[in-house]
Every structure is written in C-alpha cells, then in structure tokens.
Subunit: 276 residues, 4 copies
C-alpha cells in the first residue's frame, strides 16, 4: 500500500463517513464523544464545587483531548492534499487551513498552548468544536431544510431586522425622553431605553426597567402593541417559509409518481408532462 493511498485513506477516515465506511464512522463517533465529553467538562468545570472535587480528572481529560486534537489536526493538514481541492503541498494546505472548519480546529487547539505558555485560560473555546457536529449531521434532510429556508428568506429577514432596529431606536429614544427625568438611574440614556425596548418588544419582560409614569405606561403599551407584531415576524416568516418549502418537496415527490398516458398507454410522470 503506497503512501499516497495511505494518505487518501487517512483523509477519508478523518472526514465524515461515506455510507458503509465503518472505520470512518467509528472515528466520527469517537470525535463526537470527545467533543461531548469536553463540553461536559466545560459545563461541570464552571461549577466551583464540582471543579474543586474533580479538577485532576478534568485536567487529564483536557490534556488527552489536546493531544488527540493536535494529532488529528496534524493528520488532517498532512492528508488534505489527497483532496483535489487542496492539492499542492504548501498552497493546498494553506487553502485547507483557511476553511472555516479548519480555522475552528485551530482555534480550539491554540488556547491549550496559550495556557501552557502564558497561563491564559481560553479552554472555553472547545465549545467551537460543537459546530463541527453540524458537519457530521448535515446529511440529515431536516437540517438542510432549516438552512435552506433561512437562506431563502434571508432578504426578508434582513429587512425585518432593519425595521426592528429603527423601531428599537425610536422606542428607546421616546421612553428615555418620557421616563428619564423620573427614573434617572433606570432610563439614564438612549441605550438604556433601547435595552428596555429589546426586553419589552421581544416580550421577555425581566422587570428590571419598567415605566412608572402614566405617560410612560401609555407609551410603553402602544409601543408593545405595535412592536410585538414586528418582533414576531422573523419567526412567522421562517415558519411560513417552512410551509412553502415542505409543500414544494411534496409537489416534487408528487411529480415523480407514474401515470399512464391516455394516448399511447406508456408510463409518464407529471414532471415529464410539464417539461414537454
């Protein structure tokens, strides 16, 4: 077995498994498990009482993870040249290293060295590896559906968010003018008014900043009644996008169904009919 075929096989194993490639699948599951384990360490390690008890275990897991991630990164950058897109020993590898997922991998490794060299703790960046999970599951039809719908609606979503910003700015300025003199510590500036606006119009309503004057309550009510519809629009747009996309998929499937032509008695699909 030549080196280039070894390299090709390593590349295959490191990347998301094709159907039937059990070694590659096992590697995916292994990396998946390490990421989940590290996320668990990240979460549990943030709880003081747990950290005090298990700090040694957490460090061991982190060190082993780092070694695995460094080896994985090394193998990836070595083997990536077997992919035609990244061919070329230097330029291809740089091109690969600039891909989003490669940058994430690097960003996850670097903190460990930063910690060893400078004592800066950035291990929370392991959380970035979670996005790699997206790559593993991207074959799932429903994820691609979600991404597709967001992509379809991106222009309308952008417009809606721009309108939200203007509404927020106007609402925040108005509330600052109305309530600022009565509650100078809560509505101290327009950004404070906009904070009130976000928390109110998104219907979160913490209650940390609340109008207390009659004018403020009236203004707040009007802003809430008008603005909430606008803030709920992104979700509504996405939901209606889903509806249309799923409808389209159903229709496409429907077009695949086989009918008999009334004239020649041969099998035809609706798709054929339309295209003809």
């Amino acid at each position: 077995m030549s080196l280039s075929s070894v390299k090709k096989r390593v590349f295959e194993i490191l990347n998301v498994a094709e159907d039937g490639d059990n070694v590659s699948l096992a590697f995916d599951i292994f990396i998946f498990a390490i990421i989940v384990l590290n996320v668990a360490v990240l979460i549990l390690g943030s709880i003081r009482s747990v950290l005090e008890k298990y700090w040694l275990l957490f460090i061991i897991i982190s060190v082993i993870t780092m070694i695995i991630f460094v080896i994985e990164y090394g193998l990836r950058i070595w083997s990536c040249t077997s992919d035609p897109r990244y061919s070329g020993p230097v330029k291809g590898r740089i091109r690969w290293a600039m891909t989003p997922f490669a940058l994430i991998d690097l960003l996850v490794i670097l903190p460990y060295f930063a910690f060893l060299l400078f004592g800066i703790d950035l291990t929370a960046l392991v959380i970035l590896r979670i996005f790699r999970l997206l790559k593993v599951v991207k074959y799932s039809d429903s994820l691609s559906l979600v991404v597709g719908v967001i992509n379809n609606e991106r222009k309308t979503l952008f417009t809606t968010y721009a309108a939200l910003m203007i509404v927020l700015l106007v609402a925040g300025t108005l509330m600052y003018q109305v309530e600022g003199s009565v509650q100078p510590e809560k509505f101290a500036s327009i950004p404070d008014g906009m904070w009130w606006g976000v928390i109110t119009l998104a219907t979160i309503g913490y209650g940390d900043v609340v109008p207390i004057t009659a004018a403020g309550k009236l203004l707040g009510s009007i802003i809430a009644l008008i603005g909430i519809g606008l803030f709920a629009l992104p979700a509504g747009i996405l939901a209606s996008g889903f509806s249309r996309e799923i409808e389209r998929i159903h229709r496409a499937e429907n077009d695949e169904e086989i009918y008999l032509c009334p004239h020649c008695k041969q099998e035809v699909t609706k798709k054929d009919l339309w295209k003809k």
Copy 2:
C-alpha cells in the same frame, strides 16, 4: 351464558365503548368521573388548610378509589385473554400487563400498597391515570390530527431542538464569561448561564437573572434577537404542519364528492378522474 362470553362482555365493558354500547359507555363515564374526582382530591389535598378540614373525606375517597381500581385491574387481567392479541392464560396476560396503559394502571395501584406497607406517600401518581383519558377521547378527529401533525414533523422538530441546545450552550457560556465576574452569585457557572438562556430565549423573562453590564446587555440583546426566532420555530413548524394537514384532509374530502360525467352521465368522483 357461558363463562367465555361473560369474560368477553366484561372485556368489552372495561374497554372504550363501541357506538351504541351504553353499558360500556356508562362504565367509561364512571371511571372518567373517578379520575377527575381523584385529581380534584390531589389538588385540593395539597392545600394545607383544605387538607386539615377534609382529610377524612379525602382518605375515604382514596380508599374507595383504590378498591375500585384494584377490582378493575383484576377484571382487566382476567378478561384480557378474550382479545386475540392477548390469548394464552399466562403469556397473553403478561403481554397485556406490559402494554403502556396496563403499566399506568399498575403504577396507580401500587402506591396505595406502598403506603399501607411502608408509609410512603406516592398517591400523586394517580395523576398518571389522566393519560388514560387520552384513550377515551382518541376517537376525536382533532386529537388524532394533533398527534398526526407532531408525528409528521418529528424530524424537523428534533433538528430544531438540537439547534436550540447548541444555541443555549453557546449563549450560556458567553453570558457566564461576560457577567460571571460582576454577578458571581447569579452567573456562578455555565448551567446558570444556560438557565438565563432558557428563560430569556423562551421569552419568559422571570427577571431573577439579568445582565447588568453594558457588554452583557448588548450580548443579551443580540442573543435575544437572533435566538427568539429559533425558539419560536417549533410552534411555527407545528402550526404550518396543521395548515398542510387540514388542507390535505379538505382536498381528500373534495375528491370524494360525486359529479356527473358530461359524456356518459354516470357518477364519478374527482379521485377517479385524477387516477384515470
């Protein structure tokens, strides 16, 4: 009347009534009433002042209920063999006892014995019988519609919930990093940050954990504006699922309507027309 026909009749009565079987319907209503009565006892018995006044009544209701439920369970396990699915005096009965509703019935009876034998109060498990009500009303078209839609959309819902988890984890970690040093008692750990994330992104906003720094408020606003659309997706997906399903039912009903063929004057349905 032979024993096997008595057993068959008992089985019919114990199970959800067929149309026109008034004895079985009366039994369903009787059990329905007992469940509602016990739920009322459970709720009212949790209020100390009510419990102190009516404890004797509540105990009497509980004891009578227990006797009825034990007899009902006994009759069910005795008569279930008259259903072909559970034929066989031992194996059939075990198969029946393993069905979800039989397990619920057992889980509701056991606490009473646990209480008599060990003094452990688990009578709150009577609440599980409420799910049996689902069985009674499952003929209602609209419930099967709700279940059907959830079932249709389960893959998309699962993906959305997985995305929610990742967003929650990232949001919780970021807020813990930003606010943890200023409010060490509120954002004490990543799980605390994730609690903030759930309460904020679900737009509940209790106000028990709120960012107070400018950076935390800005980050919280951005997370809220982006994340809320995602959190509202499950409801939107279900709603659009309803829309499509009801549309489909209407179209199916429409296809059943009878028309007259303009050529032969015979009755045809649109369904026939399409298929031809």
Copy 3:
C-alpha cells in the same frame, strides 16, 4: 301614518341601520357615543383623584344615560312585535327579552335601580354594552372572518386547550413536589404549581414564583421547552385558519371571473365549469 307603521319605523331606527337609512344610522352613532362616554366615565371614575374632582359630572352622565337606556329598552320591547320573529304581544316580547342582546341591555339597566333601591354599585356592568358594538360593526367582513375562523377551528382549539390543561396539571404537580420543600411559601400547593405553570408556559414570566433548586430549574427548563410549543398552538392554529379562509375567499372570487368557452365562444365562469 298608522300606529303599526310607526312601530315598524321605531323598530328599524332602534336596530342597526340598513344602507341609506340615515335616521337609523344617526341613532346608532348616538348610542355608540353614549356607550363610549360611559366607558370613559367608568375608566376615569375608577381613578380616585379624577373621581373627587368630577363626581358630579359623572353622576349627571350616569343618570341621563340611565334615562336614555330605560326609554330605549321600553321602545325596543314595545316595537319588537313588528318583527315576525317576535310577533305576539306577550310571548313574542318574552322571546325578544330572552335574546342575548336584550339580556345585556337589561343587565345594564338593572344596576341603576339596584343602586337607587339598595345602594349596591354595579354600574361597572355598563361595560357589557360594549358587546353591543359588536352588533353594529358586524357588517364588517373582517370581523365575520375572525369569527368564522374561530368557529372553523373550534374543535382543534378545544382539543389543544384540553391538552394544555393536562400539561398544566402534570407540570404544576411536578414543580410542587420538587420545589415545595425548599420554597414552602411559594410552591405551597398544586394550584400554586399550576399558577407557576400558566405564567411560565404562556411565557409571561412575572418572576413572582421561580424555581431556585438545580432540579427545579432543570425541570422548569424542560417543561418550558416542551410546553411553550403547545401553548403557542392556539395562535398558530388560528393564523393558519386565517390563511386557508382567505385563500378560499380568493379562490371563490377567482371562480367568478368570466372566461370564454373555447367551443361555443360564450361567457362562462370557472364556477360554472366545476359545477357542470
């Protein structure tokens, strides 16, 4: 002009105006204005400082309103017999007095007499007259659209609300079990737990009752993530109902458009085509 034609004219004037009947329209606007005025008195009169200043004005408005409403009720009960549905001097008038709007009118008048006779203040019932406004505007297509959609979806809405009740009961019981021992004054009973459930699952989140244990927060998060989709369903079902209903109206309008038959060159509508 005979008495019966006077009675008929009075009946027409008292009821919602037909197109072009300006006297009747003026009367509608007059009653509309009185109701709005009384609602304003009701609202403003509830503010102590305003009441102290304008109590005489408010009493005068109330007394005049009472006189008008009593005369109106008298004229209505006198003239109603000119409507074939309420013919018969005694039985017809009783039948009319039992209609929902007549009962509302009576409920609005009675408190004044109750006040004069027994000193009981029930004048807030004037708010019931607001529902009469619904009668005035019922010609508006969009209101009948709203009512129609709610009516279409009533079965699904009922099922959803029944499911909500079960979810609330289970959620309230669980939270009472988990948080009751730590916060005995906040989660003192199952109804308290259900109050938490309503306020959380409807995403209101006052913050008056909040889980504080780790188990309670985890349970609350899970309940929130699952339950919110369910609580948002009624709105989603209504919205999708609107979509379908408006679609149906558009299609119906489309069916009215006139086409030329390719065979006989005569005008036909799609509606005719379908029906044939």
Copy 4:
C-alpha cells in the same frame, strides 16, 4: 448649460439615485452617512459620561449637520419645480413642502433654530431623518413586500386590534374589581388594570403588577389562556399574509416561464395558456 438644466440636475442628485447615476448615488450615501453619524451622536450624547468628554465634538457635528441640512433643504425647495408634479414657483414649492418627507426635513431643521433662539433642545428630532432612509432603500423588493402585506391585511389587523381593546378593557375592569381591594396601590384604577392586561396578554410579564389572591390568579390565568391567542393574532395574520404574497409572486414568475406548445411548437407562457 442653462439654469433650468442645472436645476434639473440638482433635483436628480438630491433625490434617490437612478441606476448608473454615480453622482446622485454618492450624494445619497453622503446623506445616509450624516444621518447615521447624527443618530450615533444622539445615542452617545445621551450617556452623561460620554457627553462630558466629547460635548465639543458633538456640537461641531451638530452645527455642520445643520448647515448641510439647511443648504440641502434650500436646494430641494429651489429645484423641486423641475419636477412636473411641483411646477409653479410658489404653489408647486408649497405643494412640495407639504409632502411627508419635506415636512420631516423641516422638522429636523427647525429644532436647531429653536435651540439658537429659545434654548429649547429638540435635537432628538434628528431621529425622524431615519425614516428618509426608508426612501433610499424602498427599491428593495423585500421592504415593498413587508409594506404590501401590512397594507393587504390592514382591515383584518384593524379588527383584531379593536377586539384587543375590548378584551383589554374587560380584563382590566375585572382585575381591578377582584384585586383592587387587596392591592389598592397596584390595582388602584381601571387604567392600572389595563396596564396589567397589556403587560400580561402581550406576554411581557414585568412582574410589577401581579395578582396575589386566589380569585385574581384564577381570573388572570383564564384571561391569559384566552387572550394570548388573540394578542398573537396580528403576528400570525402578517405571517400568513407573507406566505400568500410570496406564493402569489412565485406563481406569477412561474406563469412567465416559456414553454413550447406541443401542437405548433411555438413559445407560450402558462399565463397565455390560462387566458385562452
């Protein structure tokens, strides 16, 4: 180059750029940048600590902006007569000055003079210029989509908001009656009850006004469960309006696609086919 052609060119430059008119586009971007800069000054200037540090810079920006805006307004009112709609040296200019955007421009300039003459600070009105940005981006299809949908649904939205008002009034009156005697400072009047209603039914839930009696909590729960569906309707109506509008656009685009007629082999569109 004659004066009238100079005037025409000035008018073109001042207004939103046509495709390929780079000078006009540059002017649009310049005004856009000034508005964004002034909004930034408005926001930052409301923060005391920032204002104390940069007040001179902010004043300089304001003065320069004022000069630019005055010159711009002057040029606009001078050149507007080159548009046939505003021809006529006096009447045309008055007609122009009465357009919404011209009024906004005037409202933004006036405060500066008000400040110079009377010391009244109304510079916050610069925020109104933000609406002019709408004019710049109005070519974007998605904004016109948003506006179109709101316009299509305005009747239904109006009815829904009217229904909301009645629900709010009834809910506020009921809660005032139930909770007013126990919490006289929180539910002091019907407007206070309606404030509770807005904050609850919009699911904001600040927690500043919360029912504490059992009756109030039960009533509040019922109001919440019923009312929330109604409050979510505007967003749902808009979202379903989007769905239909986008569907319509897709269908219209689809009708423009060119097919070959199976009989004569000539190009046809579906639109032609339908119309025949």
